[in-house]
Symmetry: C2
Subunit: 431 residues, 2 copies
């Protein structure tokens, strides 16, 4: 029996007759000689066809094929080998004209057109690499947290109330009741910490009924959420994220350098990430850019400017902006013991764009009930969340990263939809 | 500085002064001596308190605490050590009476009451173990598939149409449109195979608007889905699942034997799993149990009987029931080339309960369009699914496991809700 190979492993099969399965990336017929490129999920290999075998008339780009042939050395080829093709079996024919060319360096089509034909667009190696990198980030995130004794949880996306009041929620008809799609697993991950699982993470969808339709908005996104019990303060969370980022980028360097090369992407170095309070940032913005803050919060312009400043002055692609104002943060955020205006909260800003929010959370029942009231909300609405705070809730904190934002920033893509396999936005529900 | 330890690692710290964080599982005060049990997510350790230190009056069960003391050898203790307690800091007090006892061998309360206080119920080591095992199964599933070069994907849960017509879908108000919660990632995982990702898996929620409220029904469940391209036939999928099950059970054996021991659970041995066609099963049921099949499908009673037969006659806890009738399977199921009544489909039955369905799928565009029409559906409704079938779709197949069913069958639990962190059913929306 002929042995089946992944394309990336073909160099190990020099001199052997092999079988390769994948898609025809390119077909060039030159009289008595033909060159084909075969792609599978691991790479691309050249096949050489000599003579005029009967299958030659049948083959064309993007067919799913099984190719049989002998592996021979070839110095010019990236893999160091090519295949002398003996047989091609077409397993999946192409019945229509392609909506765009897939064998050029880029797909030349607008993003909406690409997304309309999303599945086919993924046959382009560069588009596929976006999702290989995304999958790598998620794998590294889990590996790092598993090592730190976090437990993965799966919490409901069908919920009775929002985490922060009622805005921007998708409503569901749930039998005879009304329910909503979860905006975040915030409450559940805190509850899981209190449940004794102590350190938890979740990788799952979150929902935003955002009426905006910009390059940054999605209705459904993948959130990398974590929550850690028994912290001494915000600094424990910042240290955890620092180590996590170091782990993720090292992982990408090791396993995805080829994917990254398609985008000329340079991975950032994660040294100690500068920590600046919002008040300090306000002084810097005033002094350097004549743009003082009006409130204890950053808009996207301020994020961009302070990020630029930190890069120039401190040589870091990352920044922890800490201690946001009380009004800028949700009711579950721990107030600062030292400064009653601010909270033990932070945002991580990477190359000018906010990647995630996090904080130490309130763990004292009375403080939490009070905070809920101060925000004009009714504690009774939050009864099932509040219960565990009466039964031994330890100090805790965490954060949530939207993986799509991280991907577009690493690859320097301009629209967050490019980092979603099948995006959902204000208007898009298919494919 | 005093070093912090996970409880499971305390034996390494004999003779040292350590810090341990967790919850007080039990507090027994005996005059000048007191014994406490401290639990964290890794285990339970005994602490001994001598004299009457001031903190003694303050402590009680289920408080979140930080305990400082010296680790001393103790032959009677499961860990081989205990802690001579010097200090206890209460980090999270208990403000109310517990709804049930947490330090007995079992929680004595009905399931609904337990689920009403789900978070607290997880402080019981046995309940927590259910979710440690679940998390272990999912980790093993991913590890196995990563090794086999599958890519993890995340597909939308907000969809425009159901995968099998319109029944049992939850409806969402999606801006000005109607949308639904996905019943399965079926279409998307097939599309992802065709996209060139070739082998994919997804771990995510699926939704069933089932009006039933039984011990087996959930509105939201976690599905372990996979799909593999370039298969030669159904047997490739059966082999993959066999190896996957072997991997998962070996993983549980290695990492979760303590969790399993709490349930006296015996892991099954996965040898070659018997394959029986539905027609063969029909003959067996008729001969052995005088219960012939009326149609080419199994009801839950037939599943139970044939599973019992296979255990008795073939010594296997598992069975692949194959080749279900055309009417019993969805339109994307590959018809059999040898027998026009049946399909290249299977169910995996474990200890009498169906764990998952799977099949080779239709990959030929014309056959698929025809099948859709034969089921009385309109191909136009499935346009975004059908597109890739015109552009080089290889033969493929896969299956989906509901992780909750697997967990209850391994642990011999009676209600599927016991295997969901925060279950959603006909009536339950909180916590």
């Amino acid at each position: 029996m002929i042995k089946k190979y992944w394309i990336e492993d073909l160099a190990q099969a020099e001199g052997q007759k092999v079988e390769v399965e994948g898609w025809l990336h390119r077909v060039r017929k030159l009289g008595k000689l033909a060159f084909i490129l075969i792609k599978d999920k691991t790479g691309i290999v050249q096949g050489v066809i000599t003579g005029k075998p009967p299958f030659l008339a049948e083959i064309s780009g993007e067919q799913a094929v099984r190719v049989t042939g002998t592996v021979t050395p070839s110095k010019q080829q990236p893999l160091g080998v090519e295949i002398q093709v003996e047989e091609i079996e077409v397993l999946g024919p192409v019945l229509q004209e392609l909506p765009f060319e897939l064998n050029q360096a880029e797909i030349s089509a607008g993003l909406e057109h690409v997304l309309d034909h999303r599945v086919l667009s993924l046959r382009h190696p560069k588009t596929a690499s976006v999702f290989k990198i995304q999958s790598g980030i998620i794998k590294a995130f889990r590996q790092f947290l598993d090592k730190e004794k976090f437990t993965e949880i799966h919490t409901p996306k069908i919920v009775a109330t929002g985490t922060e009041g009622g805005s921007e929620l998708f409503e569901i008809k749930y039998f005879d009741q009304k329910a909503y799609l979860a905006q975040s697993p915030q409450f559940y991950k805190q509850m899981a910490v209190g449940s004794g699982l102590q350190r938890v993470y979740e990788v799952g969808p979150v929902y935003r009924a955002e009426p905006h339709n910009t390059s940054r908005h999605l209705s459904e996104l993948i959130s990398l959420d974590l929550e850690m019990g028994f912290i001494s303060g915000l600094e424990d969370i910042l240290k955890l994220e620092e180590e996590m980022l170091r782990y993720i980028f090292a992982y990408l360097e090791e396993y995805h350098s080829q994917d990254l090369a398609l985008f000329d992407a340079t991975l950032p170095e994660v040294k100690t990430i500068p920590r600046l309070t919002i008040k300090e940032i306000g002084s810097i913005l005033e002094k350097e850019y004549k743009k003082p803050l009006e409130i204890l919060d950053l808009d996207s312009e301020s994020e961009r400017l302070i990020s630029q400043y930190v890069k120039k002055e401190m040589g870091s692609d990352f920044l922890f902006a800490t201690h946001y104002g009380k009004d800028a943060r949700p009711m579950y955020t721990q107030p600062s013991a030292h400064d009653s205006d601010v909270t033990e909260s932070f945002d991580m800003i990477f190359r000018g764009l906010k990647m995630n929010s996090g904080a130490q959370r309130v763990h004292e029942y009375d403080v939490l009930v009070n905070n809920i009231k101060e925000k004009g909300l009714d504690p009774a609405e939050f009864a099932s969340y509040l219960e565990i705070f009466q039964f031994g809730m330890p100090p805790h904190g965490g954060y949530a990263i939207g993986v799509e934002r991280l991907v577009i920033k690493i690859l320097n893509l301009s629209n967050v939809r490019e980092a979603v396999l099948f995006p959902r936005d204000r208007f898009r529900l298919t494919p």
